[in-house]
């Protein structure tokens, strides 16, 4: 029949339309190559989407507008974080410029992690130096500060490192956000809230020191999304760490002043450059009643060396040997001198009970999985809080451990998963929660709420985390420091902080936060907003503008 062909064709068309469409793949990013003397290549500026991170999105929108006025052709491409992470992190030649952020963590109070990992050339290929910054002079300083045991000499090195970065502008620093918290002051004694430098008011010391005023003696706080795991050998997320640091003790803790202090250790002594002697407290017990021994301590640092805890492995890689000296003392023998052993290793590793984890680790050695896939029914640590019960999608229930050498003042702590920020606000007013933390909404609302409700008080302090724009120095045109410097001059920090952060931020000029007074270099070049200065810098570097105001790259 002649119509059979029509039939087949229409049938095929339908099939292709219906099923083929699902196989359409997203377009890959193409980074253009700059021709000398030609208009500067179009820039794709990446950021998160408005719904997920309004601050990043709005900030980027502002800068994109200013860059256009300076003569760039800019497309602001907003995508979910995981999508642009794919370019920025895993396809390092395929992006040009992006908004980014680093978050504050207690161990980052020491400047080593940012100084070394962010900008040392050895981490450029697959590590944290995603911008591909490469400067041998800087590398030498970053390496030197690691082994410099004299703290003042080390500070000089850190100051130098900050100066180099401020001059070379691999990042345009924007701001250190402040972390606001709401506390029910009818339930909690506000004077017992501790401000940990650069970490804010919600920290280990506040959780253990917060003192109840009346009958409500349990801290109830929200978490905006599900927890991933409660596992002492797995750094699974920010809020997850909030729990692990309370349940498991560490030999040292980073104090409110940002310096490591003995915790489960009674005393930590450096015998020489390579030997560190640690005497542990007497009478500590695990939550299941077993005593904490030096064997447990030794095991806690050896377990990650098996490779079964990849995230903790780097922190123990400098340990050559752990010797048991007596019932209360162990000696760490290092491979090479380290200025950061106390903060990056002794204050970082969780002490875990050998009687529980040794059999588990042995089993793992012969399987494909590692310790990250293990979830104890009721995790056992020795810390100030112990786990009563938990459901990672609903709530984590902790109770005070009365047998601890430093028992918490509260009776317990409940972390409830409440993704909806409106619900969090409603619940602190009804008292369903009494400590509002990690708030993902508009901070301004917290101010209004604290003003209108006498029982609710707002606390906030700047973080050591920071937001910034990053240039990919591997690709055109951002291999030119002059261009990067010019963009630093047209980044409107003040309007950004006033209008987008609603004042909940301080301007940033370095990867070391101004909140960390000891390490922050106070004499860095400031890139005050100056449009004319930006044009000058570009002109000096040989850039010109065509009749439409479009920026032209320097001739050969």
């Amino acid at each position: 029949m002649q119509n059979k062909r029509h039939l087949k064709i229409s049938f095929l068309v339908i099939l292709v339309v219906l099923l083929g469409m699902s196989l359409a793949s997203p377009a890959a990013a193409q980074v253009p190559v700059q021709e000398p003397g030609q208009p500067v290549v179009p820039i794709t500026l990446l950021s998160d989407v408005q719904a997920a991170d309004p601050i990043e999105f709005e900030t980027t929108r502002l800068l994109a507008e200013n860059m256009r006025q300076l003569g760039f052709e800019v497309e602001h491409l907003a995508q979910p974080r995981d999508v642009y992470l794919n370019f920025v992190w895993f396809n390092r030649m395929d992006w040009q410029m992006t908004a980014w952020r680093m978050v504050g963590r207690p161990e980052r109070i020491d400047p080593d992690e940012f100084t070394f990992n962010l900008f040392h050339s050895s981490t450029a290929e697959s590590g944290f130096n995603f911008v591909g910054y490469n400067n041998p002079e800087y590398d030498a300083i970053a390496e030197a500060q690691r082994v410099e045991l004299d703290v003042n000499a080390r500070r000089d090195l850190i100051f130098q490192a900050q100066e180099i970065i401020a001059e070379d502008v691999p990042y345009v620093f924007i701001a250190h956000p402040s972390l606001p918290q709401l506390v029910r002051t009818d339930i909690w004694d506000a004077s017992t809230i501790v401000d940990q430098q650069g970490i804010g008011l919600e920290n280990f010391w506040t959780w253990t020191g917060l003192t109840p005023l009346g009958d409500q003696r349990t801290i109830i706080a929200p978490a905006p999304s599900n927890l991933n795991a409660i596992n002492p050998l797995f750094i699974s997320g920010g809020d997850d760490s909030r729990i692990t640091e309370l349940v498991w003790d560490r030999l040292m803790r980073i104090g409110p002043d940002g310096l490591p202090q003995p915790w489960a250790a009674e005393e930590v002594t450096r015998e020489d450059d390579l030997n560190v002697l640690v005497r542990i407290r007497e009478g500590m017990t695990w939550h299941d009643g077993e005593p904490v021994t030096v064997e447990d301590v030794k095991f806690s640092f050896e377990a990650p060396q098996t490779g079964e805890s990849p995230m903790y492995e780097p922190f123990v890689s400098n340990i050559a040997d752990i010797q048991i000296v007596d019932d209360q003392t162990v000696r760490f023998v290092l491979k090479e001198p380290s200025a950061t052993f106390e903060i990056a290793t002794l204050s970082k590793l969780n002490l875990i009970p050998k009687h529980i984890w040794e059999p588990l680790i042995e089993e793992l050695l012969t399987s494909e999985d590692n310790a990250e896939s293990i979830q104890e029914d009721i995790p056992i640590g020795s810390g100030p809080y112990r786990i009563v019960d938990f459901d990672l999608t609903e709530q984590i229930i902790l109770e005070a451990n009365p047998d601890h050498f430093s028992p918490p003042k509260a009776d317990g702590l409940v972390l409830r998963i409440i993704p909806n920020a409106e619900s969090q606000l409603g619940q602190i007013q009804t008292g369903e929660i009494n400590f509002l933390r990690n708030f993902q909404g508009d901070s301004e609302v917290l101010v209004e709420l604290a003003e209108s409700d006498p029982n609710i008080e707002l606390f906030s302090s700047p973080s050591l985390g920071f937001r910034f724009f990053a240039f990919n120095e591997r690709v055109d045109p951002f291999d030119d420091p002059a261009l990067r410097r010019a963009i630093a001059y047209i980044t409107p920090r003040e309007p950004i902080i006033n209008n987008i952060f609603k004042g909940f931020a301080v301007p940033a000029d370095s990867f070391v936060s101004t909140a960390i007074e000891f390490w922050h270099n106070p004499n860095l070049p400031q890139y005050e907003f100056d449009f004319d200065r930006a044009r000058e810098i570009l002109a000096e570097a040989g850039y010109t503008w065509d009749e439409n105001g479009r920026l032209i790259a320097p001739p050969e």
Partner: protein, 311 residues
Amino acid sequence: MQHEIKVNEITGITDAKVLSGGSLLTNFLRTNAEVFKRDRLALTGLIILVFFALIAIFAPVIAPRGPFEVIEADGFWLSNEKPSTDYLLGTTNLGRDIFSQLIYGSRVALLVGFSAALAVAVIGTIVGLIAGFYGGWVDTILMRLADVAFGIPFLPFIIVLVAFLTPSIWIIVLAMAMLLWRDTSRVIRSQVLVVKEQAFVSAGKVSGASNLRIIFLYIAPSILPLSALYGSLAIGWAILTEASVSFLGFSDPDVVSWGFMLQDAFNSQALSRGAYYWIIPPGLAIMLTVMSGFFISRGYEEVLFPRLRKH
């Protein structure tokens, strides 16, 4: 062949019924005129739709500002302004004029609504026509495809698709077109089965008309009102779906839609601020446009299935 259960979610029609004769396009137009003449609700729906369409077309004239334009005063953004004569519905927490966003939002709503409706109606009608007319293995395969589309969870599918491709309203329209043709095609198919046995179609066959001619000139006109019915339902679903996807945070960041506005309002804690002028209008706008689609589809239903009207 199986028995299909056809449930029209809005009108409650459980089975398509035989239409009165008539085979030409004029019949379709006459039916349309009849729908709006007879049914006051359908007419109301049409008026609402036309009203929003006019707003969408003249948005740049009506809206005092751009949807993303920041209102500044002394270097500060004019955020959280209450409604006033300057800012009819106040401003957002980042200094945007809510009224202007509402006006521009109508463009996305109608664009998504109409294009999804068109896609659903066209694909569903063509599939239904071909399956019903040719029967046999063509019918079997197309209807199994419809089964597949019925088995795929609608909203999760759209969320996955939008998350995997670049966020855009067209992905939402595409995803709806890929799934929602199923309802339309099933109903159209069973209607075709009935119509093709009728005398005027047989007459066409005898007079030597080609299959395509028979499909498009003889059969199609009599099932077009059914397509229109399902199309007008799809307007509502499309707008609601776009709003839901935006609310979950998977929307195109450069486009202001009503769903985006609501998401923005909730994420900026408009409820806690008591900024009802920010929350109520976009929701009402969505409700009104979606309802207008429902009203119109009821109008078609009453004309197509006159039994319901008798009482």
